[in-house]
């Protein structure tokens, strides 16, 4: 008995010792006074992480001796990351600079609420008003001041197709949704799923619908949706929803089981012929060894030629950034030609600036860069630019229901209500 007791006591003492040892390494407060820079993003892996690291290298060359803390949090299109960021900001613990979609997500969530410092002076001193297209600068501006630096641009409205399937069936990429339905009928007749969709995470269906909206309403009408000029209960939106409902007859039945990249994979596996997705899909195809214009083709999503739905990642400067000076230096790098040329080819996006060297990019990105300078730029709703996050959440929810019940009236009413609730329209 006594022996067992001693054994138990020794064990406990040992365990407690380990416990104390375990805690100690965690308690080290800021070691040394080295300069630091904490960058928060959701670029955790693959090309985006490589691109971010390349940009860090540029920074380290220009500003040596700064320790960069790469605070990344994953999660589909930043959902987890945003939760972490918001908790940190509300808790009064901002990083030095963080990734944020330009447009409403920046302005509505962070600028209007007084969390950000304006960067107007930086824009002036770096000459950025000339380096970036005006539409893009507008997206990161509020009441005449700039608030963040766009490092990249993705295009949201792209139709991808399996080139071999199209060639074998002598098909051409449909330019309108009417043409799409004809192509789709042909494909269906051959037993091929015309369009692949993977909307497990809800936003993917909303993404497709956003492109349909742009096609149905045109640039003016589409922009009006976010300012209350175009009614959600009007004919344009009704047409878009009708089209969407019809398109859903041509998608894979098990779309709820897939996320976007698995839907893109269906093209590679010849399980489907077309997919509508932002141009990060090109990065996926490349990683899978698929070549543009050989294995896959691309075109603007039906009905959106001349329109460019912009998805842009930007970095801003939160008030109370612990290392403000280093953060400003970081923003200079993020907005520079060198920084953007280091980042974007790896990330698989084009520069926010218009003067990047096209030779650094592949065929697809080169064509996208040309369109970017010529087309009407539209803000993406699904990717944070067009409407406040409160609306974006409801938008996803409403479309998630619509995909199942295809109730046009109900969807229109709900969209209008969401618009009013979020003070976008009256």
């Amino acid at each position: 008995m006594a022996e067992r007791r001693r054994l138990a006591q020794t064990a406990l003492a040992l365990l407690l010792a380990v416990a104390v040892l375990g805690i100690v390494p965690g308690t080290g407060l800021q070691a040394g006074a080295a300069k630091k820079l904490e960058i928060f993003s959701w670029w955790t892996a693959g090309g985006e992480a490589d691109g971010l690291k390349a940009m860090f290298e540029v920074y380290k060359k220009r500003f040596p001796g700064v320790e960069i803390i790469n605070a990344t949090v994953a999660g589909g299109a930043g959902t987890d990351a945003k939760a972490v960021l918001k908790t940190r900001m509300l808790g009064g613990n901002p990083p030095d600079s963080f990734q944020v979609h330009g447009g409403a997500e920046l302005v509505d969530t962070w600028v209007k609420t007084g969390f950000m410092e304006p960067l107007t002076a930086l824009y002036k001193s770096e000459g950025w008003l000339k380096s970036f297209p005006k539409d893009l600068v507008d997206i990161v501006s509020h009441q005449g001041e700039q608030y963040s630096v766009p490092v990249n641009v993705h295009r949201g409205n792209v139709l991808w197709f399996n080139k071999k399937i199209f060639d074998e069936n002598k098909l051409k990429a449909p330019a309108t949704w009417d043409e799409f339905f004809k192509v789709a009928e042909t494909l269906k007749g051959k037993g091929i799923t015309p369009l692949s969709l993977g909307d497990k995470n809800k936003w993917e269906a909303a993404h497709l619908f956003e492109d349909i909206l742009a096609a149905a309403l045109g640039a003016e009408g589409y922009r009006g949706l976010w300012t209350g000029k175009t009614s959600w209960e009007g004919d344009g939106v009704k047409r878009a929803l009708d089209t969407f409902a019809r398109i859903l007859n041509y998608v894979n039945r098990d779309h709820a089981a897939f996320v976007w990249d698995q839907a893109a994979q269906m093209l590679i596996d010849r399980k489907a012929a077309m997919n509508v997705m932002g141009d990060w899909a090109a990065g996926y195809f490349t990683a899978k060894g698929w070549k543009p214009n050989v294995d896959y083709g691309f075109a603007p999503a039906p009905g959106t030629a001349g329109l460019f739905v912009v998805v842009t990642d930007t970095f801003g400067l939160p008030k109370k950034a612990p290392n403000r000076e280093q953060a400003l230096a970081w923003l200079k790098v993020a907005g520079s030609k060198e920084g953007q040329e280091a980042f974007n080819p790896l990330k698989g996006s084009i520069c926010g600036r218009t003067d990047c060297d096209p030779k650094k990019f592949d065929v697809y990105l080169q064509s996208s860069a040309v369109d970017f300078t010529k087309n009407a730029l539209l803000p993406s709703e699904v990717h944070g630019s067009a409407a406040p996050e409160g609306f974006a959440t409801l938008f996803n929810d409403i479309l998630n229901l619509f995909v199942t019940n295809k109730d046009v009236k109900m969807a229109q009413r709900a969209l209008q209500k969401a618009c009013v609730d979020n003070k976008m329209c009256k």
């Binding site: 995470n201 809800k202 039945r253 709820a256 409160g390 959440t393 998630n400 995909v403």
Partner: protein, 292 residues
Amino acid sequence: MRIRRDRALSALILLPSVVAVGVFVYGFIGWTAYVAMSNWNSFVPDLSFAGLRNFADLFQTPRFQIDLRNTLVFTLTFLAGCLGIGLLLAVLLDRQIRGEALFRNAFLFPMSISFIVGGTVWQWLLNPSTGVNLLLDAAGLGALRSPWYTEPRIAIYAVVIAALWQMSGFTMALYLAGLRGISDELREAARVDGASDLQLYRHVIIPLLHPITLSAAIVLGHVSLKIFDLVFAMTGSGPAFSTDVPGIFMFETTFRGNRFAEGATISIIMLVMVAVVIIPYLIYSSRTEAEA
């Protein structure tokens, strides 16, 4: 003297825990309740009093009504399934099985996997165009193919399957321990009385396992009512919210939609639901205590 000192000491021992739980549980619940009755529905904290408006709004939201139904269906089937499978496996394992340790470890294995990983793997396994369906085809059981979680009417049961995979081994362990604790004399006595195996289990053994069933139900119940990671990773909200649960709704409302007061309202309702289930148990357990 000594007794009084010991009494003071016993209170002192509990004090750190009571204070910690007081802050981290009740303090935060209080904070949440306060936010739930405020107007904080944008990113700027606005703690002005809104009364019960958020509650009224929430109960009219179709998504929330679906969530409540899902929680109920999920909890009931998950509990019944876990207890049923756990008991079955325990009874089988209790019959002098060769390789018992092997089976036991296989059944307990999912407990060591995180809900996020479990959810992701089951997203693959119950994908209608691949996964389990391919296995069924190969086994000549094509008739059992199912659209699983892509069909709104049955989607929630697909999630239950994943949850059962994850937790039923735990119930098995509890029951097995219970069975081992029942003396052989008791079984023999029943057999001598001429009871069949079935009667033995029905009338003697299962009643003896009641306390275990109760603890299992509590542990599983608290997992099930707050289930989040598993569903989040596996199906998210599901088609037409067929696998949505309040935890996901709360998370999206708060951290995506910036509607903090509404998110807090969902939390409070979740807590109330839990309280309704758990308080009777707490009363029951402190009562049996008093009898003991």
